[in-house]
Symmetry: C2
Subunit: 321 residues, 2 copies
């Protein structure tokens, strides 16, 4: 399915660069390769899964339109993919999602419906509207075609890293529901079996790390209130968790402030804009190297949809020189 | 020479992406493709020319080492290229160059010598030291192998744009001494002859625009005091000017504030960090479209070596929503 998704994505998705910097290597104490998915269409890897899912629809379903729920990156990915396919899109977003993400989703032609993250269940709202209007629900991670789309990022990593001489490495992936994590893990199982995916999560939202450690799905106590809004989900996905259990190494938990520090490093050393959740894998590579093994580490810089205020705060509080 | 440089650069230079965004197209009123050279090694296209020049040296010259003068981007490009070739590098930099550029150049192993931009002549200092220590002087633009290296960016643009269906376009290039401008113009003459290079310069530092208009090299009244530090040179190069005369369209002059606005747009829409001089071609595409013709425009985002304070200022003063 990942290879089929890659064929459908070909010519529409950006093959994002795998960047390195001797300055970054020095901070991390090992060679760091960063997959700059913030440079993807709509500013995050989510365009891959969105395109994969929309392009797999039957013509009648495409005509009826799609619906998705998302804190913002999946929203934009689905909205743009739908528009490029001439399909209508309804997107359910938390009322406290970053302004920029809500505005972009609307500007991409989607109808946006806001909900309260702390008191309402987006899955229920999505299913209800889906039935009512005949829209196909595209879940953000527990959806085979979405996982396959995100997995195309893993195919590229294998090819690019091997071309740079790297075959053995921890591959750090920011982890919400696990769509990107499990997709990349499946792709690497086939194309770079010596690379091991390590999910990375923010402190207090480490459901996947605890689920992997205990062997049972764990739930976060809080559902919001993190600057890493893009990767906050209550519990691992039903489809993604077994894949992660089979293929991933231990999770890594990173304090929010390290995400801000990593954003500042990405600004200075890679010239790439990252949002807090999008910088968490780089943060793990830079500041939690004690949990890694080997000379090389690959990290996914998954998104860059951040408000100017938050970005300026990261640069001011954590100057990188 | 450009194709020979491309062969020497292969595997060492980054093939930077040609990015687009429907949001940016909307501001510009036409399709905009941005060549993100800020993502190049050392954060600017200058690595191309540096590598080209150092890799073309005879073994004895490589062993003796190289010398360069630069406000910062050529400095880093030459310093990294020299280090990767095991050659020593001395770099002459203006004392008021951005802190980050001076520090990076030192960290890349070069010996940095500072001079006063307003009262001293860097060309003289460079030639004197070159003789004294037996170092090969690598000029920032009036150097055939440097022009050839910068030209490799043009070969990539032709290939990438044609793959995206664009064959006819104005190609906006930030212009200091004209190394990048003339290199790209030569490459496009061969590989995309319907694309026309347009030099872009900041107000008050428009020597190339005036030189092209009058047919004779003009000199800027001021030598410093611009936020576009990377592209401030007194007059067009002796080698580059005839090439620009033969191949380029009219120059475009852009006020500094438009560079800050374009930096903010690149942050929000491309997730790419640009310095003021590196954003000037995008600024011309966005805010000076009346001087362009045709449906498509390509602009070179040449560098991203900017201090956090300047970047935060651009985001705060010119929010992009």
């Amino acid at each position: 399915m990942i290879r089929a998704a890659a064929r459908r994505l070909d010519g529409h998705v950006r093959r994002t660069p795998l960047l390195n910097s001797t300055f970054v290597d020095k901070i991390a104490g090992r060679r760091v390769l960063m997959k700059a998915e913030a440079l993807q269409h709509t500013g995050s890897f989510k365009f891959r899964g969105g395109w994969s899912a929309v392009s797999a629809l039957l013509p009648e379903a495409k005509e009826a339109g799609v619906i998705a729920f998302s804190s913002g990156n999946h929203a934009q990915g689905v909205a743009l993919a739908a528009r490029m396919h001439g399909a209508a899109a309804v997107i359910i977003m938390p009322s406290n999602a970053p302004k920029l993400k809500v505005e972009n989703t609307r500007a991409l032609g989607a109808e946006v419906i806001l909900y309260d993250r702390d008191t309402e269940n987006r899955e229920e709202i999505g299913q209800k509207l889906s039935k009512l209007r005949g829209l196909t629900l595209i879940r953000p991670y527990d959806e085979p075609e979405v996982i396959a789309g995100q997995g195309t990022c893993g195919l590229e990593i294998a090819e690019q890293a091997i071309a740079m001489g790297v075959t053995l490495a921890d591959v750090l992936v920011c982890c919400g529901g696990g769509g990107l994590t499990s997709g990349i893990a499946l792709a690497l199982e086939a194309d770079a079996p010596k690379m091991r995916v390590r999910p990375v999560e923010p402190t207090d939202f480490d459901d996947v790390t605890r689920s992997l450690a205990t062997g049972k799905p764990q739930i976060n106590a809080r559902l919001g209130g993190s600057i890493c809004d893009a990767i906050i989900t209550p519990t691992p996905g039903a489809l993604t968790f077994p894949i992660m259990q089979r293929l991933c190494g231990n999770g890594i938990v990173v304090p929010e402030k390290d995400c801000l520090r990593a954003m500042s490093v990405a600004f200075t050393r890679f010239k790439v804009v990252l949002e807090p959740g999008g910088a968490i894998a780089l943060a793990a590579a830079l500041y939690h190297g004690d949990q890694l093994s080997g000379e090389d580490v690959i990290c996914i810089a998954s998104g860059g949809n951040v408000d100017a205020e938050m970005f300026a705060r990261a640069l001011a509080e954590y100057p990188c020189t």
